[in-house]
Amino acid sequence: MTDTLVEVQDIKVHFPIKRGVVLDRTVGYVYAVDGVDLAIRRGETYGLVGESGCGKSTLGRAMLKLTEPTAGRVVFDGIDLSAMKGEPLRTMRRRMQMVFQDPMSSLDPRQSVESILVEGMRAHGLDTDRQATAKRLRSLLSSVGLPSTSLRRYPHEFSGGQRQRIGIARALTVEPELIVADEPVSALDVSVQAQVINLLEDLQQEFGLTYLVIAHDLAVVRHISDRVGVMYLGGLVEEAPSDLLYAEPLHPYTRALFSAVPVPDPIVEDRRERILLAGDLPSPARPPAGCRFHTRCPWRQRQRCDTERPALREIAPGHRVACHYAEDIRAGKIRPHAVEPELVEQDVTGGIGPDDPLAGPASVTEALGP
């Protein structure tokens, strides 16, 4: 028995890009997640950080089997979820929950807080006794810092921070072990962000939770996580304990990311040396060959970086980096150089978001609207 709660092994999620009016033709794939290995230990907080579109949410959803992985395995507490379907999977869901970015759209606007909270319990047969359920809901509400009068209200009557608390309470109703929190604070105001971050930390203590916290804000991730994984274009490029990653970021992308985050301190801001990355994030539908980062990397070396994809290697205990030259960069043997920004063609399919209809319009008239 290891202390690993959940593990993904070489997981891939490729979304087909469909075209065509009558017959849907697959014209390519969005390589949203393209071969990620990571393990989360029981009771820890694992932070996943990266720019938008790099596949963080997709990875989180694939881990919960909310998106079907194209390849690879998900192992939860020793149980292989890959082939699991139907009722067994549904029962498993009790043990792993999700908290969403947008606290408004993730709550059904037509349900009162009470029915939002009871729903999961009912689905897993946990609301056998009315009295006990009522008591449990009240104690949950107080755990997340909402008044018990909230039960009869509707989501639109709450502020953003309070809605996020409802979303967190909903995840807790089924007594999960793992919570995947996808950008839990990025839609909130600064002062409210801090409240929710503290709440997440308190709840972890209280209920012994394991977290995967996904965020694009490096400062938030570093603050809340024990270990941090940095993603770039569908792959993990670096993984290390939070303090170590901050003290010694080894991957060029991590370095650039750290240097780009604004710090609310003019003294720091005036002195810091910025690594400005040239150009844009390439489209995940056409990831560059070799190292995915080589088009923007200030440390890129000819040939090897352009052709050979670096594996995620353990460079120091607990510190994994996917860069051919991590050791040389650490030792200062190679220096950053200027990078010519490359054009990133914004192809029309590149912008498919999770909100867009997936299969494309079912017919011509749909595209024109009713």
């Binding site: 792993m96 993730s106 689905a123 009869r152 009557e157």
Partner: protein, 309 residues
């Protein structure tokens, strides 16, 4: 300290809402009540419905009885003018026009409501099937729906209406209803599809809620808004289309129970000499259709998620 918190509480109470909880529907209703457009539309609709329901009591005369028949002179195109007891005069065979209009309201309402309900029911079934099951069911349903939608509504209704050997009141209703089915189906499927990819449906799935409950508790209720709005608008369309069918002679041939479209159709023979015979039913159709449209549009506005706060 306490003085301050008291004062803050007092100030806060000013804006605090009660604990009762206001559902979206209740909030929409509050917005609606203050909207003059809605009030105007609703006044028209209510007046129409009340008149239609009470028509048999209100109508001063029997709408089928040509009691002014002696005043009709075919050869000289004379029809009974306005006179005491018959404020609008009579029609081309001498029946009291006001009574016919009132009873006509009842028939028109019946046609509009039944046609809309049947169309809605069919659309709900097809749309829910397509939206909930997706896959090939969706493809098949949507192809059929698209073919139907590609034919102009009235033309389709006429074709369907002419399939029946003996047109009567119910064939009209059916023809109009069938035309509306694809409209509802497509609308519902579209908004169910949007719901399927929404976060709260994903959240329910992550919670382990059963698929059936997801469809009926989350996807369907949240997709109904636009359908309800459409139903109101379709009432107006159904009335106009039914009138069109009657006008073209595909309506109820039995004119003892008048219907506005049918009255309009019969008035066309005398439209040159007596435009008022066409004016009254046509005006009623326009006003009532406008009433339903105003209600529908203000409903759309009130249910719009953007105006939600």
């Amino acid at each position: 300290m306490t003085a301050r918190t008291d004062k803050i509480d007092k100030l806060a109470q000013h804006t605090a809402r009660s604990d009762a909880g206001v559902s979206l529907a209740a909030a929409a209703w509050r917005r609606l009540r203050r909207n003059p457009v809605f009030l105007l539309g609703a006044a028209i609709v209510v007046a129409f419905v009340v008149l239609a329901l009470l028509a048999p009591l209100l109508a001063p005369h029997d709408p089928a009885e040509p009691m002014l028949g002696d005043q009709v002179v075919r050869a000289r195109n004379e029809i009974p003018p306005s006179q005491p007891g018959h404020p609008l005069g009579g029609d081309q065979v001498g029946r009291d026009l006001l009574s016919r209009l009132l009873v006509g309201a009842q028939q028109t309402l019946l046609v509009g409501v039944l046609a809309t309900l049947i169309g809605l029911a069919g659309g709900l079934v097809l749309g829910t099937l397509a939206g909930a099951l997706s896959g090939w069911v969706d493809t098949v349903v949507m192809r059929v729906v698209d073919v139907m939608l590609s034919i102009p509504g009235l033309l389709l209704a006429v074709s369907i209406g002419s399939l029946f050997a003996q047109p009567n009141q119910y064939t009209v209703i059916l023809a109009v209803a069938i035309v509306q089915i694809p409209v509802f189906a497509r609308l519902l499927r579209g908004s169910m599809l949007a719901q399927r990819h929404s976060d709260h449906v994903l959240a329910a799935r992550a919670l382990g809620v059963r698929e059936r409950a997801i469809v009926f508790r989350h996807m369907l209720p949240n997709s109904l808004g636009p359908v309800i709005v459409q139903a109101t608008l379709v009432l107006a369309i159904a009335i106009i289309e039914a009138a069109g069918l009657s006008f073209l002679g595909l309506g109820n041939p039995d004119d003892r129970l008048p219907e506005w479209g049918q009255m309009l159709g019969q008035a066309q023979n005398v439209i040159d000499s007596h435009p008022e015979l066409a004016f009254w039913p046509a005006g009623c159709i326009v006003v009532v259709a406008l009433g339903f449209t105003l209600v529908g549009e203000s409903l759309r506005e009130a249910l719009d998620p953007k105006s939600r706060r």
